[in-house]
Subunit: 463 residues, 2 copies
């Protein structure tokens, strides 16, 4: 069956005038008199629906069509007619309408606004709504933009492992992966014998592909990962999911400035791509989610991101401590309320905060000459707070080892990571960006559950 | 630091003649006399290395450079000089060489051929070899080609969930995901209380995103997934990994023929892309892995894939039963030896086998009118066997329900999947392609462990 995508008609409707087309899609609404009717048909190829006009004289099965319920699937053959004076720019004058699959009057998605909470209960149907339909298309285009950006720069895309036997970054928040009969596992000296497990040892779901990514950056120069990561955090918030996707580029012969330049370039590229490819979706979000969205996105593309050190940032925040739930002082973590204050009130644009106290950052970050701070950077954006976190990595073996000793990390667990410093180690840096946070930023949607198709959160793994 | 990528020089070396460049990379070999030396430097930006010439007169630290070990990281400033009469097309006459990171004489990757088994033990260093370096770059470009192919056709990329609470497709081969204290789980009436687990129920790693993908296809029309999937199969073969990536497109208002056309188009697109972008890598594989590789790939792009029904295929195979470990008869599974015989000996090109007996296929495949076979298709290719498996899905609720009853599947577990047939169900079809199998096909590499960066197999989750 040769179908025309509604997407293509919207791209160049003039060229379709008076053309015969076949369009297959789902009924969004259907109203009719005895003589004629209108169907709003969405084929999923783009945000907008197309209007189908059907009249008794032309359509054999007028009765069947006029009784069609919302959600039904039909195939329409007809002619495109431009309608410059009407609300919609064109419509299809139907010659034939075949019902491919009926719907019922109890179809959960009637033509009205549904709460996002209700839509989450029907996650299998919600991509058919304007809101979720638009969010997931932005998601798809943003993912493609990321691949395109890195491919154009000759970065190698690396699939780092999902299952990992190293619990480096905090086993407490990791999911165990096992094939043991957990009701009755084999035991040795009273304890479970993980030597009998699938991987012959403890295994978990990854929280980050960074360490593996570093190994590949030191072979290819520039690499990125884009895959799912997991946190078993028992926190039921708008911003946390147990399963989320992350992008982690890693660049060799590069320092923190190169890293920030890359992050800024990537953000501008992705936002520009989405503004261009998803203009209908962004207009919708701007109207119904966040009236400042379009302006915010255009500003990001045109601004030079601000830069400030952690120390400077703390000094800027201290005068406003009274307005924070958690007042700051040097050494304290910068929390979402502070991140948003910095980017929304003080800088009014994206801002990089750099050089954090080593105590609040990870062991692998490169020590600065002051021996107090590390070459870390967070990118904060208005409306979201931290969107990107990155650092230059400690490439000096002796400094890395002594930092690991301070933190009671076991050298043996990191033998191969340390090898990367023994054999041709170089300056290198990278960052991570949570993909769902990015989609929230791009759409104005405030709950992470509404930017991922089938969200996994505490107590919830439906569908 | 402004670096030139060796990749860019190879693309247009003439324009670099006599130009000053800065190149950062790793030493592949280093030989010298008292007066001058040659370094083969690889910067990871492309398969090929670049030759660096350094002479005592120009290089301050000649002694240090001449003693550099293989694997060391250096930054070279110098001039590109075309060398039309030499083996390599150009070289860099070094003006300055800075050592960024030393290596040691015990660096595991000396300039000689290493066994793939040895390389797997140093999976963190093996991307620096010709073999794995080329494989993972082909992997990266093939992934990009897949995204580009579907994006150009306006398919929506969907991230289906990794963690799933439904064990639809065979719990025996699934990994359990849990945050319970497995040594001491809370029990209720003697049994583990999975109500206390993170998702308040049993949870597993997905084996396929298809069912979720169908939900999205019935909203967007055309979608694809590309993500990791998992099998806890206890089989230690060259072709099975516990963790692998899969691409699963799903198309609505489409039948098995549309599905096969899409699969053929996708294969040709990806192979063409890789032939164009990875010509150095393919030449390498053709020389060292499989002398028929290039020819096989070019043939695929230029051939029309063959089509044969399962029944016809069995009839073609029966006369050759004496040569098979497992003789075939109607109703038996087609195994790798038969798949390869069909594509390599009988058809000598990729071939689609369609309409398999329902007993050897999944419950969701559409019943044919003969009531004995289903609208399934496998794509078999020379050298690999089955590369793609797909089907038209059963969209008729009554037929789907009766098939589920035959197979003792619980309707309640599939409530949302059945909903897709209740509300605007349409003809639809899709397929799955194992990404690692594809890379094996594209490179001639015969062990799946060598086409995925950090393989996970029975008993092995290192790195």
């Amino acid at each position: 069956m040769i179908k025309t995508q509604v997407y293509d008609i919207f791209k160049d409707s003039a060229s379709f005038n008076e053309k015969d087309v076949t369009i297959a899609g789902w009924v969004r609404s259907n109203r009719h008199s005895n003589a004629f009717g209108f169907i709003e048909l969405n084929d999923g190829s783009c945000f907008k629906s197309i209007q189908i006009v059907y009249v008794t004289a032309d359509i054999e099965n007028f009765d069947e069509i006029s009784r069609l319920n919302v959600g039904g699937a039909i195939i329409v053959r007809g002619k495109i007619v431009l309608t410059p004076d009407a609300k919609q720019p064109f419509e299809v004058k139907a010659a034939k309408i075949d019902v491919e699959g009926h719907s019922t009057p109890d179809y959960p998605l009637q033509k009205k606004r549904h709460s996002v909470e209700f839509l989450r209960e029907i996650a299998h149907l919600r991509p058919r709504t304007n809101l979720i339909g638009a969010a997931m298309r932005v998601r798809s285009e943003a993912a493609f933009a990321i691949h395109k950006f890195f491919n154009e720069r000759n970065f190698v895309y690396v699939h780092t492992p999902i299952i990992t036997a190293s619990d480096c970054e905090g086993a407490g928040e990791m999911f165990r992966v096992t094939t043991l009969d957990v009701e009755n596992p084999l035991r040795k000296e009273g304890k479970i014998d993980f030597g009998e497990d699938f991987f012959c040892k403890n295994a978990f779901l990854t929280v980050s592909g960074q360490l593996n990514g570093e190994a590949y950056a030191l072979a290819y120069g520039n690499i990125y990962t884009f895959g799912p990561t997991f946190r078993a955090e028992n926190s039921n918030t708008n911003r946390h999911a147990a399963e989320f996707w992350m992008i982690e580029p890693e660049i060799a012969f590069a320092d923190l400035n190169d890293d920030m330049r890359l992050a800024e370039d990537m953000m501008k590229y992705v936002v520009s791509h989405v503004l261009e490819k998803c203009s209908q979706e962004i207009s919708f979000f701007n109207e119904f989610m966040d009236k400042t969205l379009s302006e915010r996105l255009v500003n990001l593309v045109n601004s030079s991101f601000a830069h400030v050190t952690y120390t400077e940032a703390i000094n800027l925040l201290i005068p406003h401590n009274a307005s924070f739930a958690f007042p700051v002082k040097w050494g304290s973590d910068i929390q979402t309320e502070h991140e948003r204050y910095l980017s929304e009130v003080i800088f009014k644009e994206p801002v990089f905060v750099t050089d954090y106290p080593k105590e609040i950052k990870s062991f692998y970050m490169r020590m600065n000459d002051d021996n107090k701070t590390v070459a870390a950077m967070d990118m904060l954006v208005p409306g979201v707070g931290e969107l990107i976190g990155g650092s230059q990595r400690e490439e000096r073996l002796d400094l890395l080892l002594s930092r690991m000793k301070e933190l009671h990390l076991n050298e043996k667990d990191y033998w191969w990571y340390l090898d990367l410093r023994r054999y041709g180690g170089t300056r290198h840096a990278g960052f991570g960006i949570g993909f769902e946070r990015l989609i929230m930023y791009l759409t104005g949607i405030t709950n992470i559950r509404d930017v991922i198709p089938f969200p996994r959160t505490v107590g919830s793994a439906e569908f």
